[in-house]
Amino acid sequence: MRFSLNFLKEFLKVDIKTDKLVSLLTMAGLEVEHFEAVGSDWVFDVEITSNRYDWLSILGIAREAAASLGKEIEVKYPKVTKTPLLKTRTIKIESLKDCPTYVARVIRGIKVSPSDTTLKERVVNCNINAINNVVDITNYCMLKWGNPLHAFDEDKIEGDIYIRRARQGEKFIGIDEKERELCPENLVIADDKKVIALAGVMGAKNTEVTESTKHILLEAAIFSPIVVRHSRRAAGLDTDSSYRFERQVFAGYLEYASSEAANLILEKCKGAFYGYAFSGKAILIKDKNLTLKLKELNEYLGIEVPKSKVKGILSSLGFKVKESGKGALSISIPAFRLDVNELVDIYEEISRIYGYDKIEPQIPQIARPLAKNEIYDFKNKIRNYLVQLGLKEIITYSMESDEALKALGYDNVIKIVNPLRKQENALRPTLLLGMIEAITYNLNRMRQGMRFFELANVYGRDKDGFCESPALSIGVAEEEGGFFYVKGALLELLKNSNITEFSFEEKSLVSFTNALELFINNKYAGFIGKLDNETADKFNLKKDLFFAQLDVNILQSESKFKVYSPISQYPAIWRDISIALHKNKKFSDVLKVINEKKEFISDYQIVDTYKGKDLPEDFAAFSLRIFYQSAERTLLSEEVDKIHNDIRKRLEQTEGIKLR
């Protein structure tokens, strides 16, 4: 909202510099975002929090400024005229829930013309266009008291006035000249024939006050905040009027706003008061009462505010304060503070005017540390470990398009009812697409070193409605031996979590070739695979992607505390075997034969691989180096030879394995 200093001065003598006032208001919670001099006036843009409907009026801001300055405001209440009663029309409210109170004042024989300079300056400096004296006066009074008003050209109202819900499809052309089709969510003001205003939001073009208007009907009303909110949303509008009604307006100032406007119109536009009409519930203003204990206040805030200070602050804000026994105050909350209901609200009033800056920082004693959040710590551990292995962490969006997910075989994904964009309209059950996007982004920029991982939740439906669980993805592109890089990373991760009971099983997976599934203690824990060419093409991925996704909950629940394993003090001896393997056999078959007896075998590695003409057809060859070591003694060359030759013999006897 924008307000001006000269307007403020109608309620309060301000004798401090503008920047000082700005900082006082800001530090009291009325944040001034911008201020500047305009002619002889100063204008301020303030951020009004949604609870302070009262700050949407100059009166409310003046009251706040007064409290900050330690002063009192001076309010000149206008003369309220309620006679004669209007006899020519009746006001009919369909539902008191939608509109509890409606007041009309009719003035006849006026002359509409441009406003005088002062009036113009008041509204323009508060960011409202000057239109003509009648409209400017209604806006001036809205700004001053916080109650939106509307003036109709009375000649154009046909018959009685109805406050009712719009009929489906009813047409409305506002003073913005746009035509809108209404629905029962809209509350309207209508006459016998037509809609003349969108209640609390905007008047209709058909009854707009113009230079030729002679008679006016001045509306002041209370509309339901929720109804106005829904109505203006349905109409796609947000006006100075609806903004105030949505946040509630104070019924106690309704007659003041209306009367001041009527009085000003009589003064500036001439004419004569013709009639007053009232419909709805009588306005009852009641102050709320609370007892405040000084000790409790000070314990809550952690400071010592003297009683005299408490009394001074509250009275300057319009609260009535009385002593009520030792260390207690009886407080009556002014009716215009609809936002103050409980003691904590009063604590805030006191502390913000006293000054948050006077609160000295303390450090609490946190009495009881809770049980650790294991999954959080475990994720951090995985993250740090993968970084150590040389992978880069990425963060990608949790939403993907349902079509892209469908292409990967995910059918029943959770969808977003109100997506921002089509490409993010579903919650992802896999981290694969995010990985593809990150890799593609980098390939397009000729980047290198795409060895990525992501830790994020995946989402799906289950019998309870939905599930959400943490997952880990690893993806590499442009890596030689990419599959074994990812497999190696997984093995390192398992080792780091001291998970020993696991197995890999070859599996054919949708969208992947060469896939392995990982089982930990016979529980499915994830998979590794190479994205197949068809899928890669579908997502415009130009390189091979090796990808793994793991269930972090399983990893965490199966992980064990690390235990030191003693290091042998005796030398290891190695022997090489050159093996040719038929294509129907796997390296794991070789390993199985070797591991039939595990005597002293401490490690093995592939030292060489080759394919050549001298190999039999359908065979591939490699050299395997086996390490032998004892924890208790130095092995003798002869005993190693014996074990090694035994292995050779067993291998030789296996079909599909030839030694060279």
Partner: protein, 342 residues
Amino acid sequence: MDAEVRRLEEELQADLQKANTAEDIEALRVKYLGRKAVINQLFAKVPSLSGEEKGKWGKNLNLLKNKITSAIEEKIKGLGSAEDKIDLSFPAKKFDKGSTHIVSVVSQEICSVFEKLGFTVVEGTEIENEWHNFSALNIPLDHPSRDAFDTFYLDIPQKNAQNGKFLLRSHTSPSQARVMNIIKPPLAVVSPGRVYRPDQVDASHSFMFHQVEGFAISEDINFAQLKGVLLNFVRLFFAPDTDLRFRPHFFPFTEPSAEVDISCFICKGKKEKCSLCKGKGWIEILGCGMIHPKVLKNCNIDPKKYRGFAFGMGVERPAMLKYGINDIRLFYENDVKFLEQF
């Protein structure tokens, strides 16, 4: 002999002066100690000398040879050995290192500051319902105070009227309600994670971002302690001389509430033409307050017995402030050139 030795010594001194490279010294070595060296020619003359002279010159020449040898060695030491001599201006090795995403770094950093004060990390869930995201936190479903929390709704069938529709949490505050329902006070918790709001993506908005929520509840928590805890945080996270300012504000779930500004760590509050604080001297970083008694009650904690404070902050914003990152989209593009900087 005498003259020849003197000449040799003079020549050596001059040559030593001139020798600047390993090659020069190698040439020197060949010239003075090699097979054809002058000193060898002098040695060759010794046998033909007379008895006394023979002994004297034999000894002198040996001394001279040692002197030459050590002078050359000395020179070599001064230059570094010929083997070590490489082009040191060559480009250094590039390491292909792993990296933690800066959002994780900052989120962990924030949490660990509070963990040191005795807070425990508890993560909430991203799929939430209206009760936990709004109502329990005293945010009415139909009120302008909800406008700050535009929300993605999900097509998961609703289960009961109280919990309302399913949605993606629009802040980490629902963790408060989740934790309070399970754990009885005293408690102190920080809760980091992803949050979602339907904001059009631009340099400072993203429909997905990260937050950290923190709260503590006990019989004697007060507003001044909230200030202390946050002052401790900003000094550890930003800089030890950071100042903090509480500015009254409104949040439905706290009362009193405050927005927290820190003194600008670029201009140190001097304000003039500062691009970071725009001349204000202060930068807004988080919101906080004393937990509203209605929230405590909604979470089955007796507000007459217990009090609490709560605070919530973004992760991207402090990361951007601290590391001078000017566009929030950089966090989610995952450009290697961005990732490897942290």
